[in-house]
């Protein structure tokens, strides 16, 4: 029943023995101890379990372990850049985008993927981009503020570099 599944997790190649029918979110959290990926609904409605699969946002509650095979997976634990935070994380802290924090990992993942494709978004575009991620604490305004600021930071980073 168990099978070997190999993939790249937060930059490192790993190989695990697990039931390929298990949900990816359970494998990440329980087998691999990466509890930063949250589960809020288990049916693809809330976005809390978002991870990057080959740089695209996927809901790990709707993926099986088998679907991890050969993929490049990035969870919230792999978002920081070396010793420093990702600009999205930094802006979330500075702009008060975090309250209970249970939606935060998924929200950060969604924002990171969005900003990789859109360097100068409007507030409306940001609202659209995170509309698949439910937050029950913030009313989203400070999250939009944070993503807007992160975009600015990233543009400045580009011109610096």
């Amino acid at each position: 029943m168990k099978r070997n599944i190999s993939f790249i997790l937060n930059g490192s190649e790993i190989s695990i023995e697990t039931d390929p029918a298990l949900r990816a979110v359970d494998v990440l959290r329980q087998d691999l101890g990466l509890t930063g990926t949250k589960e809020g609904c288990g049916e693809g409605e809330c976005g809390a379990c978002s991870v990057l699969v080959d740089d695209t946002v996927k809901l790990s509650c709707l993926m099986t372990a088998a679907q991890l095979e050969g993929k490049k997976i990035v969870t919230i634990e792999g978002i920081a850049r070396g010793q420093g935070l990702h600009p999205v994380q930094q802006s979330f802290i500075e702009y008060g985008a975090v309250q209970c924090g249970f939606c935060t990992p998924g929200m950060v993942i969604a924002a990171v993927a969005f900003l990789a494709a859109n360097r100068a978004p409007t507030r409306e575009e940001i609202r659209d981009a995170i509309s698949g991620n439910t937050c029950r604490c913030t009313g989203y305004q400070k999250i939009v503020d944070a993503v807007e600021d992160a975009a600015q930071k990233m543009r400045e980073g580009d011109s610096d570099g």
Binding site: T35, G36, C41, E43, F102
Partner: protein, 759 residues
Amino acid sequence: MRKEPALDGPRLDALSKVTGSERYSADFYPEKFLWAGAKRAMVPHARLLALHTEAAEALPGVFRVLTFRDVAGSNRFGIPIDHQPVLVDAVVRYAGDPVALVLAESKEILSAALDLITVDYEAMPCIFEAEEALKDGAPKVHEDNDKGNLMRAVSVCKGDPDTAFGACDAVAEGVFETSRQEHAYLETEAGWAKVDDRGVLTVVASTQSPYRDKREIARALGIGEEKVRVIAPYLGGAFGGKDGITVECLLGVAALCSGGRPVKMWWDRRESFLAGVKRLPSRMYFRLGAKRDGTFHALSCKLYFDAGAYAGLAGEIMTMAVEHAGSAYRIPNVRIEGYCVYTNNPVGGPFRGFGVPQVTAGMEQAVDMVAEKLSMDPLELRSRNAVQQGDRNCLDIELTHSTGLLECIGELMEHPLWKDRQAWKASAPKWKRRGCGIGCMSHAMGYPAAIPDQANAKLELKKDGTFRLYSGISDMGQGNTSTYVRIAAAILDQDAAAIELLQPDTSHDLPSGSSSASRTTYIFGNAVIDAAVVLKEAILRCAARSSGYDDIDAVELVPGRVRVKESGRSILLSDIAGLIDDDDRSQKGYFRAPHDESTLAIMYLGTHVLFSYGAHLARIEVDILTGKIDVVDYVAVTDAGKVLNRCAYDQQVQGSIAQGIGYALMEDYLVSEGRQETGDLATYIVPTSVDLPDMVSIAVEPEEKTGPFGMKGIGEVVISGCLPAVANAFHDACGVRITRSPLTRERVLSALAGRGDGR
């Protein structure tokens, strides 16, 4: 009291949350743990005849199946009425009642085992409607209740309301119905538990009330309180829904029967919706009378609150509604009657606002109806009747504390979004109608007079010269514990980073009440100040003495050190920690909130004395073809005393508005014949990022002299303004009133077609 700039700055819990390293109750997978899960009744009212657990027990990987026979204690929880079963032993009273508990090696086996359990029931007659439930002959939810289905009735009367209405020039009447709102916190109910070698049961749970939980677990499971320890890590949201037992007792039963293995429980979303408490739905009859000049003269209200199957805190919620039904106005003649009623519906419980959003929706619409009859500006009418410090409110309580409602209304009157409303309305696009609505509100802080509202804090200078702060009140996401650290840092003149924060753990023995009632920063902040001031003095005394001074003013605290003012020489705090008595190194602080026991004569539990206030403006656009309402602009003006941390303050304001707009427009947990129809986030819709506008938050800041650095509670007051502001805006836009919320598209179209509001 001084205001310290050190209180500002980002939340201290944000870093661990953005990196995913913070561990919530749901995030623990202890070694060799068993999954625990409940079999839910799924019938609304039935006698339990037989439980068939053999097939489940025979499933490989099932460790045990437990029933009420495995619960040694009272098998009941609930405060103040302990009648809710941990595991049903005789009668099921709502679909979410748990009838069996499975321990299994994996989540998948647990799920399969739960499906294999079958139950024989004898169906019992059901009741699903609060007013019907009060009629003679209605099926009884609790056979032993000598008041039928009435859980609690509270009434207050002042002046002579019966004759006063005859002296009014305008009288508005309305019947308002509000929905059953689901908290929908992102972290569903979760925790883990174990019993150690000494027989101590430790429960780690997502809970707002660890100290109360400890007592309830001990009693329900028949073990001594000294054998129970409850730990409350950061919660992934709660909003009132975890103010009371969720997983705690079930986890306790499981851990006591697991052969020493840890047990973990994590409700999935459907179970959370099924078994979690809800905001109590209400039907409210309001009658408000005013004189020609706009002076309110008489108010009468009858409130019916559907408590669902068990008491929980529903009676107290309805009582709070009675206290706030007349909002924050001077009204000389008042009668308010409230009835909290058992039904076979989901259990009602605390939800941000605690009964106040319901009555504020009724009252503030009645106020607008009076304004219309008098042809008065609705803000002007409110301004004429708003309470001020020194006034008596409609329950005849003298308002001796800060009272900033009039300032809130004044800010709104001058706001450009209010002043230019007519032009804005007139420029509505084709097929749209625009309207502006007002909602004012008050919200009591803390517990009413009968319940001592107190907190115990502990602050310690560690041997390494840094500090440790023990929190007694859970942080459900509002950031109260971050503020505790900043308060301690400000008083001790230290960097916040030098203070380690421990989340609540009943083994610290710092009972401080629940994380609720808009009380957390106010009450525990004051206790932290008390502890920090004493600790600071102990440190300075020790440092002064060791430097050869008698007077502690000769030295001062600076980050990491104590400095001798005269010489400029400084001593490391780690050195002080070695010199100071161990008893002095750790200091406790205490605070009890102001209260007035004379109010016990007025109503059940007495009243509150301390209130926050607000005035809101909603500008909405109604699509008359689809019935969709968009909230285009929202302004919330709030008096919650001095603002300690603007970012944390606005988090509460904006989050409350989001939940309030959800309550106004879309959130309605539907049950049919006691069974849930909106059992997940696909059918129970909460606002997303595209459903809400950018919001304007304005703080008027009268100093509350009893508050830490002058503050009052901000956690709940804001939510109560949203539904009435939106409902009044709809009336302003379309000329008809929808008195049943939420204002769904169907109700909007029905109202526009002249078919009423879907009552």
